[in-house]
Symmetry: C2
Subunit: 111 residues, 2 copies
């Protein structure tokens, strides 16, 4: 889920899921293909509003996805391919990760 | 505010500020020193709970800072050095940026 060079401007009242992770060294095994596939699937989900993702050379990454409501986040969480990829992430790809589900109260920035 | 290789585990009910930005090319001018200084100042603010920051080689960056409440975010926003740095950011360092202030409703991850 890396290297998406766009900035989303989610509406106040919508939701952000902050996924912070540290990649394990030397365990690539379809990571990039899986990330691309998940990005595509997420973007097709009802309630998906956008995604931003950055990973640096140290393996540290932050992905923020934006959603209409908690129900759309929950539906994406229950998507079979997403659940399978998360299991592989826990077992293979990530040294550590954290997920925060947040409601956007205020939003501003460049146009 | 780059390359902080730690994962914060903010409490549910606390706040996240998501700062997404694209660096302008070839405008360095004390950026790294200012970022280090701001990170130090932020960490000394009342209500500061943690910070994660990643920027990739393309110049795309996401920084998430965690705060006890909206009042502590507002106080940091009004800090003189922070306000000055934001003005320089808008003028010099960033091509685009966005800020989202969010309340954390749910949080989980590796221990």
């Amino acid at each position: 889920m890396d290297d998406t060079a766009e900035l989303s401007r989610p509406a106040e009242g919508s939701y952000a899921v902050i996924f912070t992770s540290l990649r394990r060294r030397g365990e690539d095994d379809n990571y990039a293909q899986t990330a691309d596939r998940l990005r595509l699937l997420a973007s097709q989900q009802p309630g998906f509003l956008g995604m931003e993702s950055v990973r640096d050379a140290s393996g540290m990454g932050i992905t923020v996805s934006y959603w209409k409501d908690r129900a759309s986040i929950e539906a994406w969480r229950n998507h079979t391919e997403h659940a399978e990829a998360r299991a592989r992430g826990r077992q293979q790809w990530y040294e550590r990760y954290s997920v925060s589900i947040c409601k956007i109260e205020k939003e501003y920035g460049t146009p």
